[in-house]
C-alpha cells in the first residue's frame, strides 16, 4: 500500500446527474495509483454517487444554476471526499431509518444509509451554508496473487 499524500483535488460541477459520471472518472483517476481492492473501489464509488446525487436532488433541488463541489484527498492510507451543495441544509437526526419495517419497501431514503454503510466515517458541516458532507475510508489495496 502506497502512503503518499494526494493534495486536494477540487471539482465544481453543475447540478446535473450526468456529471456524476465525470466525478466518478476524476475519483477513479485520483485513486488509480493505489490498486484498490474491488470492495474498497465499490464502497467509494457507491458513496460518491449517493453523495453527489443527494447534493443535486435534495441540496440544490435540481436547480442547474447551483453548483456541487467535490474535494478528493488522500492522507496516508485514508481517503477523504467532501461534497458540498448550495441548499439550506438538513437535520441528519430526522432522516428516516430505511431498515424500519414501515420504510423497508419505500422507493427512496437509502442514500445516506449507503454512505454510512460503505464508508468508515460520515459527518456533516453546515457552517459554510448548504451541506458539506465529509466521508472517509481507509484504503485497502488489492491482495497480490
Amino acid at each position: 500500500m502506497k502512503t503518499k499524500h494526494v493534495a486536494p483535488v477540487t471539482l465544481s460541477i453543475a447540478s446535473s446527474f450526468d456529471n456524476i459520471e465525470l466525478a466518478q472518472f476524476v475519483c477513479d483517476y485520483v485513486l488509480r495509483p493505489w490498486s484498490l481492492s474491488a470492495d474498497t473501489t465499490h464502497a467509494i464509488s457507491m458513496a460518491l454517487r449517493e453523495g453527489i446525487a443527494n447534493a443535486i436532488k435534495h441540496g440544490n433541488g435540481g436547480d442547474a444554476q447551483k453548483r456541487v463541489s467535490l474535494t478528493l484527498q488522500v492522507e496516508g492510507d485514508v481517503f477523504r471526499m467532501s461534497i458540498g451543495d448550495e441548499g439550506r441544509g438538513f437535520e441528519p437526526e430526522n432522516v428516516a431509518d430505511p431498515l424500519a419495517p414501515e420504510n423497508r419497501l419505500k422507493t427512496s431514503g437509502r442514500g445516506i444509509f449507503y454512505m454510512k454503510t460503505f464508508m468508515d466515517d460520515v459527518r456533516y458541516d453546515f457552517s459554510l451554508g448548504g451541506t458539506q458532507v465529509v466521508l472517509e475510508k481507509k484504503l485497502v489495496a488489492e491482495e497480490p496473487e
Binding site: F17, D18, I20, R49, R104, L105, K106, T107, R110, T117
Partner: protein, 113 residues
Amino acid sequence: MKANVRDSGNVSIIELKGKITIGSGDIQLRDTISRLLDVGKKEILINLKDVTSIDSSGIGELVGCYTTVTNKGGRLRLLHLPPKIQDVLTVTQLITVFDVYENEPEAVASFGS
C-alpha cells in the same frame, strides 16, 4: 441501460444491461414493467447478470417495481444477482424481500408453483 424483454412460457424475462442509476436506467426499468403489466403480463423475471452498477435510485426502482407487480397480483423475481448488487440489497435487508435465482430454468419453473 438497455432492457431486452423475451418470453419463456408465461414468464416475461427482462434482461438488463448497463447501469441502473439515477437519471440512467431507473425510469426505464419502471416503464418496461408498466408496459408488461399493461398487456397483462404479470409473471416477471429480471436478469441482472449484465448490470454493472446500481445506486439507491436503482434499488428504489427495483423495490417500486416489486410492489407494483405484487399489487397487480403478479410476481417479480430476480435472476443472476451480481455480488455487488447482492451486497447492496443485503445491507438494506431487501434481499429477504426478493426471490433470487441463479439458474434460469429453475427460476422460470418457480412461477409454476
